[in-house]
Symmetry: C2
Subunit: 425 residues, 2 copies
Amino acid sequence: MSKIVLKGNIAFTPTKEKFQIHKNSYIIVEDGKVVDICSELDKSYKNYTIQDFSDKLIIPGFVDLHLHAPQYPNRGLGLDKELIPWLETYTFPEEGKYSDLDYSRKVFSRLINELWRVGTTRSGVFASIHKESTKLLLDMFIESGLGAYVGKVNMDRNTAPYLTENTRASIVDTEEIIKEYMNKSSLVKPIVTPRFIPTCSEELLESLAGLAIDYKIPVQSHLNENKSEIIWVKELFPNSENYASVYDDFNLFGQTSTIMAHCIYNTDEEIDLMAKNGVYAAHCPYSNYNLSSGIMPVRKFLNKGVPVGLGSDISGGNSLSIPNIIAGTIQASKMAWINSNKELAPLTFSEGFFLGTKGGGSFFGKVGSFEKGYEFDALVIDDSSLSDINELSIEERLQKFIYIGDDRYIVERYVKGRRIEKPFD
Amino acid sequence: MSKIVLKGNIAFTPTKEKFQIHKNSYIIVEDGKVVDICSELDKSYKNYTIQDFSDKLIIPGFVDLHLHAPQYPNRGLGLDKELIPWLETYTFPEEGKYSDLDYSRKVFSRLINELWRVGTTRSGVFASIHKESTKLLLDMFIESGLGAYVGKVNMDRNTAPYLTENTRASIVDTEEIIKEYMNKSSLVKPIVTPRFIPTCSEELLESLAGLAIDYKIPVQSHLNENKSEIIWVKELFPNSENYASVYDDFNLFGQTSTIMAHCIYNTDEEIDLMAKNGVYAAHCPYSNYNLSSGIMPVRKFLNKGVPVGLGSDISGGNSLSIPNIIAGTIQASKMAWINSNKELAPLTFSEGFFLGTKGGGSFFGKVGSFEKGYEFDALVIDDSSLSDINELSIEERLQKFIYIGDDRYIVERYVKGRRIEKPFD
């Protein structure tokens, strides 16, 4: 049994309302899980390996609930279009390249290195339609030591010809990946990934739901990102009550754990259905700005008890940094407050931090917090050069790191108790 | 006469509509000014010192039209309040410390180093009410080699007691600084800085306008940042047509060159008055998010011919990086597009870049572009690690640097033809 003790200023959010802070304390980790936090080290822990990080901050690793691995090379490019033309001009041509495994490896090694660099310890990842490239991505995540759900994307209509799958082949490939990877790693797992309603036939949606339920595999997709997308879905499924109910009618909406990215234009009924079915919303504020999609009213979802996490959504989003996205989330919530005539209160700092750690982390199990029994995903932050003018509280130091820090301040990363080094050369 | 030649991929925006790009070309600089750009080096330039930056990018230095030097220690802190309570809880107490010159020096050296680091070559800066500290800041900017307008803040009412000046002393101190610094440096100059209407008596406003006009000194202040601020101004000046006309009635609105920060809630009449008087708007998107102020409809100002630049507005804003603020400006313009029922077109990439260079730069003279006769403020960008997957055009490489780069990619900074090293240890 592996046993470690880290010493430092420990901060996390067991609930969104407030930080729990242990100044100058010890966190005890056994077999990858938190067993205790204490200000004095009990003698029963004396023979554990002690890592003394002195005045540094120890916080949970960040969780990115929504990103597209094959879009990594397009990050920061072409952000002057709306969703559908952006997909057609920039995104689909790039995604077409992943039949090439050498190219895939080149991109994925850079992506995973960068997730490591910015302190993202768990991710919900869309690969492309390509089976072998998706397997490579799963293998590379396993090799890295970071946690991830990785999904082969399914599309059998309404997309570029070179990205249109044969329906049967799409299902067979997905099942092959599920069987090969469902028990291969405790940290990296497959996830069923219909891209979104317009690119999937009814047969495909039905079969994917069958796979998810039969193998107990989670699901990820997109919901209500853009008004023209919503009209399109309505045209395709005129008899469905709304966009969310199309997924629900196909058993792809919480029948197994489910993430829906964006959720900007959800009706109250759709938010209620997410709450009822425990469907996660992945809020991706920078993508929603860049693609002129709009601002998700996060407060409404929290009020109704929908689980919410944050996503970079590269390359609709430009930033892979969850700290950066936490700041963007709080900022966007202030515009939602104005847009709602001050009905939807802006998110507080602890709420933003919660969404970027335990909020998304709970999709992975006991992840994103340091409560007893939680898997120890952690970052050590050396913010000494950020807080050297005035004396600050631990929470204020954390604010500074989130709002003006970057990866240079992250000095150690742990996933499930294991220290992770830069994954690829 | 100093003569230098730089070689690289040269990109700038003579107009907001479009980049001018000179791939693999030479830029000739004499006495700090651009004299030519050419793809082959004419033999008359052969004996100039040539700096070959090979495949790197050479772009204009960034311009920050609005920032508060004494708020630097508060960056990233307390961003859960609106303007007026934020001023009272966080900002005024910090600004009270600048009677202490040792403290001032400690803060200003870090601020100026960071401006250098992020590639800001010219700034419009608010100091505090303190005369000696303001002089120190002017001197430290001169020592750094960066360009700046620096203003002693004037406040003689409606602020914390320890920041309330005696009206006469405020005027006398301001005049002393003007006389001492107006001809001391070609790059660093004083600027008349009434904080905003509510904190200045009529006598103070009148006298400051007199100083600005007599000594031909520019003016900077705040306008229409927040709805409760606007109501307050209306209460103080019930007979004025609007907030802008209060400044105009006191001759502080374009009678000499003027910057007004924020301008979120300008009426059409106020925008017209800015256009007529040539008053600059400093758009500060991150501050406007953080303080729940709102989104400035930049497109409206551009349509009416108002000169617009960008500002970090630290510490209302969290980021000092103008590239970051360019991305934020384009993003915010997309939300303004939605808010305006798609009437106000989102800003393009070249428009965002223009605002962060020549848009604000023109306040300083021929600054922010590489047209002939422009002062050579420049950055050299090594983006090789950002663009190593697919082949990209120069403009695409620049997009990547703006959207996902940071100071690590800036390898050289020049101001008026002079290479600038890190200013303070």
